[in-house]
Every structure is written in structure tokens, then in C-alpha cells.
Symmetry: C2
Subunit: 266 residues, 2 copies
């Protein structure tokens, strides 16, 4: 059996009782290292917090391992219980669909233990989850690569008067085996790039006066949530990753009232 | 302190360690009774599963209590720790923003413990969460009230080629104090109503041949996920609530492959 277990957003205490029970009976425990593991204390002192809680070693599976060595993990899962831990929810901001497909193809049973993801926890700012439009991912611009395909999506969402979530994840390298050290998109950089693209495309999808909500380390003890115009949010120090940004559409009175509590301090 | 704690989607074991820790130190524990508590064993044998786990009584707060007696709960929270438990995530399919606004207005501190919600757990079917459009809620039709305002939203989403989630929740009573016993919208009834509205509006937003995914009891041990056309899903017995339905747009190859595993058995 392969257990794919969401760890939630904060630290080792955000696992569910069901998830912890599954980890405890697994012979091998892997953790996906794609996304931020900082708050789980993994980069600083090994995996100690998780390993202490689980009472067993945890193997960090980097991108290459998940993509190329999934077969060996899956063949272990054929004869014993294997846990694959994922920050957030297994099917949240990144997808593990491919792993599930491969497991099912070779007849390995898969159980998913869900948890909070940035995709639903973002509701804490008071903007109704029902009314969000499609989510956009903003890559880091380079000297020669400044894609603006996300602009059309934002424009469409803005025209429909719904909100756009923009999880600002690390830039993804494609087609090469040497991975850059992970870089995390900050709200400041995201807004800078958004405004550059608006200036280039010029369809008034948004402006520096557009109301947004910035989130850092959502679901952690030290999370920051601030609402304000793009211009104002650029002056806020959101600190460590992960950051994400919601562009606000028309608001319901209760939504507006809630955003007031998060308004940028002037 | 008011703790608003998500219980997740399955049963009492889906609470997080952080959530359980908070419940244990709270003097008063309330649970919201709006949504389905069936799987938590609440309607059948009181609150025994939850109360056994927590080691203390749990007060079921029905709709009237949450709306009208929130003040007394909030004044308790001023002087002691109070837990308010919510199935799923506190800001998932229903919103508790109003409660938070009232708490903040009278200076009561609020802490939110996130958990899985149908809004992210639906990703388990393999359709990328990023690409979902706005969510639609379908009310029960009556003899004289057959609203079709959701049709425009589905049409828009279909035109944009994104998916529509349709959590089929109980019909909401507005403006009266005598509440109907909760009724839960089934996938069969939802599709029947969708097709009726398509026939009336006639803009080919979808048809009985449109690919969908039906979900029942998402996140529970006995969850059911089936993909197929609307026509085929109408023949499936999804069993007990809660049900929800995704209308599928254009799929990526991995998404399509994953949906195959859930294809309706013929």
C-alpha cells in the first residue's frame, strides 16, 4: 500500500491523526522535497521534528528521485506499507497525479490522507472560496524570458469579476538535470512583474491601485496576511516564503469588512 | 481565545494534532451542525466518537445558535479558551467570516486551525486544482422556484474551458425561523436539474454527453469517485451524502489517464 499523506501547512503538528497512524505503520517513509520544507525544520536540523514525532527515519525524496526512482518506491509499496509525505495537500498546489497513475498501472493500492492546502486555507482572509477564478503561477523573469501568458487569464477573471489566486512558487526548470537552488517568488517581485506586464499589454486588467491580499507562510504560527493596493503591498516586508497573492474582485459587505482587519498599516 | 478548528472530511481521526491540542485545552467545545455530521457518528450515537477522543462534552450549535447566540459564545471566549469545530475547513464550502468579524469587533482573539476541505480534496480525481473555475451551488427546485442563475456561470466556465465544481449542499432556507430538516442534493438530482436548465436556456453550455466526475463522501473511508457522461452518472448509486460534481473541461493527458481509473463500470 502506498499512503500519500498531506502534512498541512504549518509544522509537524499539522498532520492528522489518520495520517500519523498511517506513517507509524509504514516501513519506509519518504518526504517530497519540491516545496518549502523550511517551516518543518527540515533544512536546519535534518528531519528531527518529523522523525521524533514518527519515531522512525524519513527519507527526503528530491525531484529527481520522485521522477526517476518512483519505480523502486512503488515496488516497495507492493510488498509493504510505504508513506509518501507531501507538504499541504497531496493534490493541492502541485499534483501527484502522475505517481498515482503509475501506482495504479502496476496494481499498487493507493490511499490518500488529505490535509489543508494553500488552495483552501487562503479562505481565511474572508474572500469566499466559491468565487475564486482560475489560479495563476508567475515564473521568475530572466533577461531574455519574460512570459506574459498569465495576463490573459487575469484579464478574463477580472472581467468576470472574480478573484485570482497566484501562488508564487519557485521557478520550475524544464528539460535539464542540473537544478537551480530553489528560489521563492516574493509578493514584491510578483507585483513588480505584474505591473511590467500590464504596462506592456495595456488592457487595464489591473493597476497599482488594484486591491489585493498578500499572504506569507499561510497556516504557520507566524503567518502574515495584509490587504492593500498593489502599490502599498510592495512596501510590506512579508519575510520568509511561501508567498501568495489574491487579486480582489467585487466584494460582499462581510468580505469587505473582513479585509479591513487585514488592511496595511499606515 | 476563540479557536475555529477544521475537522477534515472523514471522521474524528481527521483532526490535526494541532487541532486536538487546542480542543483539549478549551473549556467549552461547540460543533457547527449546518453541514453533514453523519460520518462523525453524531446523528446516530450522540457525539460519542468525538467526545471520547476529546475527553469532554461537545455542544452541537445549530444554525440558530450560531447566528443568534454567537455573542454568548464570544463572551466566553473573552475570558477562557473556546473551540468552535467545523467539518472540513473553517473557510471551505461554508464561510465563518461573519463569526470572525464579530469576534474581532469585540476584541476576542481568533486562531484558525486549517484542515482539508472539499474545495481542495476534490483534486484527488486528478483534475488540476489550478484550473477550476468559479464554484456553483445548485438549490433544490420546487414547483414554483426553479432558479437558473448558475447556468450563466457554468456557460462562462465552459467557454473558458475550465472546470466547474458544484458542491451540492442542502437547500438553504432564507428569512424564516422554522428550518426544514436538512435535505442533501444528490448527483442524480443535480444532473436532472442541470439538464432541465440547459433545455430551457438552450445555449449548449453542456449536454447529457458532457464528461463529469461525481464524488460522494469525499475524504471518508467509503468515498466514491466515478467519471462518466452526465447520462451515465445518472445511473450510478452514489449512496449517502455529501455529493459533489465536477464538469470536466479540456484535459491534459495525465488528467485523462487518471479519469480513466474512475470511469463508470459498464
Amino acid at each position: 500500500m502506498l499512503y500519500i499523506i498531506g502534512l498541512g501547512l504549518g509544522d509537524e503538528k499539522d498532520i492528522t491523526l489518520r495520517g500519523l497512524e498511517a506513517v507509524k505503520k509504514c516501513e519506509n517513509v519518504y518526504i517530497e522535497a519540491y516545496t518549502s520544507l523550511l517551516s518543518f525544520g527540515i533544512s536546519s536540523d535534518g528531519l528531527s521534528n518529523l522523525e521524533k514525532l514518527y519515531g522512525k527515519p524519513v527519507i527526503v525524496a528530491d525531484r529527481e528521485m520522485v521522477e526517476e526512482k518512483a519505480d523502486s518506491m512503488l515496488s516497495q509499496a507492493r510488498d509493504s506499507d510505504v508513506a509518501f509525505l507531501v507538504v499541504g495537500d497531496p493534490f493541492g498546489a502541485t499534483t501527484h497525479t502522475d505517481l498515482v497513475v503509475r501506482a495504479k498501472e502496476i496494481g499498487v493500492e493507493v490511499k490518500v490522507v488529505h490535509n489543508a492546502s494553500v488552495m483552501n486555507a487562503i479562505g481565511v482572509c474572508g474572500l469566499q472560496l466559491y468565487r475564486y477564478g482560475e489560479t495563476i503561477s508567475i515564473p521568475f523573469f530572466t533577461e531574455t524570458w519574460r512570459p506574459d501568458s498569465f495576463y490573459e487569464k487575469i484579464k478574463r477573471n477580472r472581467d468576470l469579476d472574480i478573484k485570482v489566486k497566484e501562488p508564487s512558487l519557485e521557478s520550475l526548470c524544464r528539460g535539464k538535470k542540473i537544478y537551480e537552488p530553489p528560489r521563492f517568488m516574493s509578493i514584491g517581485t510578483a507585483i513588480e512583474q505584474l505591473l511590467e506586464v500590464e504596462q506592456k499589454c495595456g488592457q487595464s486588467a489591473y493597476s497599482e491601485d488594484t486591491l489585493c491580499v498578500g499572504f506569507a507562510r499561510l497556516g504557520s504560527e507566524d503567518q502574515i496576511i495584509v490587504s492593500g493596493t498593489m502599490k502599498k503591498l510592495q512596501t510590506v516586508d512579508f519575510g520568509d516564503p511561501l508567498h501568495c497573492l489574491a487579486i480582489v474582485g467585487e466584494t460582499h459587505p462581510v468580505e469587505a469588512e473582513m479585509l479591513q482587519f487585514y488592511a496595511v498599516n499606515e
